[in-house]
């Protein structure tokens, strides 16, 4: 056919008889079998719930909201993270702080089911209020409601 080039893979006489090649392949697999039985501690598999992988220092995990020295949330409800979020998982409701000119988040929900862990919210934040440095990655629950984290959960992470 025009445009299609057939690349032949001619086998030599040894390969045509299959058996030598089969023997070579079986030698490889038995080598793995024996060495894995003798040195099970070298196996790369982790027994997961009991053993856990050591995470890199800058691992991007679950979000947390940072606090000022006096314990109040740093967040000024500027909506930067909500705007930056490509998955649309952050929803903020702003309120008055009362004593100063700044705003404060009354509601700060992250729907972790939607989150794609891109970290754009962290980059967008002008006051370093949101970080993803908790190192938590086991995000399971028995209901969807519990996976929408509210401001109290995020502040205490």
């Amino acid at each position: 056919m025009p445009g299609i080039r057939t690349v032949g893979r001619p086998m030599n006489i040894k390969e045509k008889w299959y058996l030598f090649e089969i023997a070579k392949g079986m030698a490889v697999s038995i080598r793995h079998l024996v060495s894995n039985i003798l040195h099970q501690e070298r196996m790369p598999t982790l027994q997961y719930p009991e053993e856990k992988r050591v995470l890199p220092e800058r691992f991007r995990g679950r979000h947390r909201l940072t606090k000022r020295d006096d314990g109040t949330p740093k967040c000024v409800a500027c909506y930067c993270c909500q705007t930056a979020c490509p998955a649309d998982c952050i929803s903020i409701e702003a309120g008055e702080r009362g004593d100063a000119a700044e705003k404060v988040a009354v509601r700060f929900d992250i729907n972790i089911l939607r989150c794609v862990f891109c970290g754009l919210c962290v980059e967008a934040c002008p006051v370093d209020a949101i970080r993803m440095d908790t190192g938590k990655y086991e995000l399971t629950s028995d209901s969807r409601k519990k996976l929408i984290y509210d401001i109290d959960t995020l502040l205490n992470d």
């Binding site: 079986m26 697999s29 038995i30 079998l33 039985i37 027994q47």
Partner: protein
């Protein structure tokens, strides 16, 4: 006499349940060997009171799961054939075991007791006839399910099995020419003694090409990996798509039982069956006391070795698990020390064996060797499966018709010429 009635029943039960007992062992071996070959750890989570036995509990958990699953029959199936298929698959796979000799004949009180369920002087023909019936299980399953995919899968398998049956039959004729009999018991008995003074006189050394052809045909007949197009569980749709629950498990078990039965047949035909290499029945019976002592010493040694291994295993376990699973190594270690103590105790008190005891002991040893040979072949099946990729359908047919059949004919010709030359 009561024993006339009891013995056949006993042997029939052994022939029926022995291959079934191999199934969980082989399923476990399959998964574990596959895992180790692929640098994984394999199943190790199912436990009974913390005892996991390296995943050996999983096959039993699987059986419970399969029994508890919904047994779904699709609408518009042909109910008779649909139900007959899985039943045939496991029943036919078990049948060859009826004529496999499990040990040398016993002679009790002047009576000869053959160590097999059925004494059949057309042994090999029976095996060939029965394995060709296996096609029916697959075709009926594929046809009865009333699904075009299963029908195609069934047809594909039928073509494959019919093609390789020919190669299988041709490769066997060399053995028949050498042994001059069809009786499996007689063939196994002829394989005692030595060849060239040092090799056991097994047919594999006399018929290396025949053995190779038979082994390849056996892989195809049992639908194992390089030839597992009938199932093709991961890529192509096979004949048992419409089966669920225990009906599917029957097909699954049928495959493993066929593997065990095939291993038993190839061990009997080419590897001496129950023959203990270099030690004939008479030698073993004459030295029954020595045999028993050697056996006990071996058991004790293995038990002590196991205890040592369990000790180091236990250290890793208690470092890893904080629950009852960490106790496993202690329990198993204690059990193996107990076994070793029992063996040593028996060794200390064993002073003599009566002739009947000697016969039974030798039969047990020979049976153990048959089991070991079957397990070795079972491992070969597993080893090949996790090494080789699957053949394409045209390659499969090409190999069967263009290579195995002519080579089988060549083997017959060469064997005939050599036999003529010896005469």
């Amino acid at each position: 006499m009561l024993s006339d009635l009891l013995l056949p029943v006993l042997f029939a039960l052994v022939a029926a349940f022995l291959p079934l007992m191999f199934v969980p062992l082989l399923v476990w071996g399959e998964r574990k060997a596959a895992a180790f070959i692929q640098d994984r750890t394999g199943p190790n989570r199912a436990e009974v009171l913390g005892i996991r036995l390296g995943g050996l509990v999983h096959p039993f958990a699987d059986v419970v799961k399969l029994l508890a699953k919904e047994d779904w029959t699709p609408a518009r199936v042909n109910r008779f054939y649909y139900n007959l298929g899985p039943f045939l698959a496991i029943f036919i796979s078990m049948l060859p075991f009826a004529i496999i000799p499990l040990a040398d004949n016993l002679s009790v009180g002047g009576r000869l007791i053959e160590m097999r369920a059925v004494t059949l002087n057309v042994g090999i023909l029976f095996v060939l006839a029965i394995t060709s019936f296996h096609v029916y299980a697959i075709v009926l399953g594929g046809w009865g399910a009333n699904n075009t995919y299963t029908l195609l899968g069934g047809m594909r398998s039928a073509a494959q099995m019919v093609s390789y049956e020919l190669a299988m039959g041709l490769s066997l004729i060399g053995v028949l020419m050498i042994s001059q009999t069809l009786d499996l018991g007689e063939i196994a008995r002829q394989q005692g003694g030595l060849l060239f003074g040092f090799l056991p006189r097994w047919n594999v050394f006399l018929q290396p090409l025949g053995f190779l052809l038979f082994l390849i045909a056996l892989f195809a007949e049992t639908n194992r990996n390089p030839f597992d197009l009938p199932e093709g569980e991961s890529e192509i749709i096979g004949f048992h798509v419409e089966y669920s629950s225990m009906r599917f498990a029957f097909y699954f078990m049928g495959e493993y039982v066929a593997m065990v039965a095939g291993s038993a047949v190839v061990a009997t035909l080419y590897f001496g069956g129950w023959q203990v290499p270099w030690l004939g029945t008479e030698t073993l019976r004459a030295n029954a006391l020595l045999t028993a002592r050697a056996l006990l010493v071996l058991v004790a040694l293995f038990a002590v070795l196991a205890a040592v291994l369990f000790r180091s295993y236990g250290r890793r376990l208690s470092a890893l698990y904080r629950d009852r699973r960490s106790r496993e190594a202690k329990v198993l270690g204690a059990a193996s020390i107990f076994v070793a103590a029992l063996a040593l105790l028996a060794l200390a008190f064993l002073s003599g064996i009566r002739p009947l005891g000697a016969q039974i002991l030798v039969a047990a040893v020979q049976f153990l060797f048959l089991v070991a040979k079957i397990l070795a072949f079972g491992f070969l099946f597993i080893w090949v499966r996790w090494t080789l990729p699957r053949f394409r359908y045209d390659q499969l047919m090409g190999l069967g018709w263009k290579s195995l059949v002519p080579l089988g004919l060549l083997n017959i010709a060469v064997t005939g010429l050599v036999l003529l030359g010896i005469d």
